[in-house]
Symmetry: C2
Subunit: 355 residues, 2 copies
């Protein structure tokens, strides 16, 4: 186990840039004093913030670059002006060169994905990467993927997502055979998109020794923790994730308003404030910020573009855990095994249809 | 304005059937004493429940049928054995014949949609129906559509959904020019599905005098109430809706658990119980149960298959409101006007691309 965790941080990413990312890095450092940072960004933007954060400054090395990827550029544009030299590229490249254990960025998702693929390359047997999110549930946590790495998924990709997600669940949750569900709009076999139905058939009929296929799940089953791994295409997955975050924000604000309305409510709030504090933590979507890019030869974490310091810290914590527990190596092994079974079964069952 | 509202109720639909639907109808009757019911279902199942609900029994006429649509049948199967004679068909047919003002069913969505289309027919100019949900937001309510009438949508259908949703918003929220957003996975122009991007372009560049196109919105913007109308394809819309419901359930259960943990929390709860009661109402997804089928020559409301009596009552209330305020007629007028503009603009702008 490494004696320290080296985190490459794209300090220019996200909606708020260094003003939020560096304080977030500092928060994470208080929880994990064995972190050291490589900070990539414009010195003029970073240094004034670093000067206010002496603890962070002492554990960081700043690598200057004038180029930052804009949030609204296409991946191809970002690659054109940002390859070799942007803060995002350099953070990923530090992982590639072995100078860092994990890269964290709150920047443009498409650009981050394109650069990570281009530089780190995919794990053998995987054609398309995925972003996996840890979703807090009534029973603990589930893994939901893909939450936005790519749009559209055929049945082969959906079955691959099942293998990738269950490999991650096996390691993170320490479960031998995680349960896998396919997100759909009805639990009945007849409903949903053609490719979701077809993936369901392959998963049901195939022999996948490393996970248990549960069947279709619906949006409200995610939070119930019905399965360990929820598989979905990136468009629907991203909408589900952000809708849940939005709903949590909305209900937290109702709660604050309700507890402030009358003197009795305010007094009640004071009495129960410890309970409210625990509750606030559980309801806070920032605490589960951070998507893991799966399928790459290296650990890259995507933080929410709009994350504040607390959210940024959660994404860095996730990267830290991935390194600390050697999750990527374990996931990689697990995934190689699962993907082999997946490829065999998909080919066998898909050919049964087309022939 | 009619002196009473005649509701045709498919008493056999949903996961729980008459045992839940009839008590729900009774709850709605306490709020709207001017309701009269036509109840369709198996006498043997309905009568014992009705005997326990004398108020409901007095305002209802029972129409016996032995045929109920199963929850897991394909629409084509359901049509085959259920046309002319199932409780679902008869409820819709009562609207068609003018014997009822609205049909409410918690049954199989696909079958309900197929039967409603087959019997009531689409409004001129609309090819595919949509299910619209009322979504509680920080600012009040928004309309989200489609939440599951059909899977997949090209740009023309998405623009039609904008017209249908804004017609409903104009009437329900009394706003002259509702704002419309397209659900996508990033606010940047470059992101998202091809057809969503193309619909965005048409809505942005076209002249739509009856609504304001806001641009793309993300999952977390729905609950913020960023726009009056959120337009999305049915698969993603259904997942968003159910995920939000699931999250609300989850957080409500965290809240209950937190308020029960210590004596101080319990005492705090007692003091603030009025505030909690209001909050519970706001957090309760059952209160916004009920999807309106848009695009049909008649009012059909889909209640959640898993709805309890309270949820059933909310769906019936929604049908009641649609009739009471003559919403369908007004929406129909508004929609005819909007769809004309929509067809013109879509044709003009789409042809600019393909030629």
């Amino acid at each position: 186990m490494p004696d320290r965790v080296r985190i490459a941080l794209d300090a220019m990413g996200g909606d708020h840039g260094a003003e939020v990312i560096l304080p977030g890095a500092d928060v994470s450092l208080t929880r994990h004093p064995d972190i050291v940072y490589l900070l990539f960004g414009n010195r003029a933007a970073l240094e004034p913030v670093l000067d206010r954060l002496p603890r962070l400054k002492a554990k960081s090395k700043l690598v200057h670059t004038e180029i930052a990827i804009r949030m609204d550029d296409k991946p191809s544009q970002a690659l054109r002006y940002g390859r070799w030299k942007s803060s995002m590229w350099l953070a990923i490249d530090a992982v590639k060169k072995g100078e860092a254990d994990v890269a964290v960025s709150a920047g443009n998702t498409g650009a981050l994905m394109a650069m990570a693929r281009f530089n780190l390359k995919m794990i053998h047997g995987i054609e398309r990467p995925a972003i996996a999110a840890l979703w807090p549930t009534m029973k603990g946590e589930s893994i939901v993927l893909d939450v936005g790495a790519s749009i559209g998924a055929d049945e082969t990709h959906l079955v691959n997502l099942a293998a990738m997600g269950s490999a991650m669940a096996r390691v993170l949750f320490d479960i031998e055979r995680p349960t896998v569900g396919l997100l759909n709009i009805g639990v009945e076999e007849v409903k949903g998109l053609e490719q979701v139905r077809e993936a369901g058939r392959i998963l049901r009929e195939g022999q996948f020794p490393h996970f248990d296929y549960h069947g279709f799940v619906e949006g409200d089953d995610i939070g119930k923790g019905v399965v360990d791994v929820v598989v979905t295409e990136g468009f629907a997955g991203n909408i589900a994730l952000k809708t849940a975050e939005g709903t949590a924000h909305q209900l937290a604000s109702y709660l604050r308003a309700a507890m402030n309305r009358t003197w009795a409510a305010r007094l009640g709030y004071l009495l129960a404030r410890q309970a409210f504090r625990t509750l606030r933590d559980k309801m806070d979507p920032r605490k589960s910020n951070g998507g893991v890019f799966l399928g790459l030869n290296g650990v890259v974490i995507k933080s929410h573009g709009g994350a504040d310091a607390e959210g940024t810290a959660a994404a860095i914590d996730m990267g830290y855990d991935m390194v600390r527990y050697e999750l990527l190596a374990k996931i990689g092994q697990s995934m190689a095994r699962d993907l082999k079974a997946t490829a065999t079964e998909t080919a066998r069952l898909a050919s049964g249809v087309s022939s």
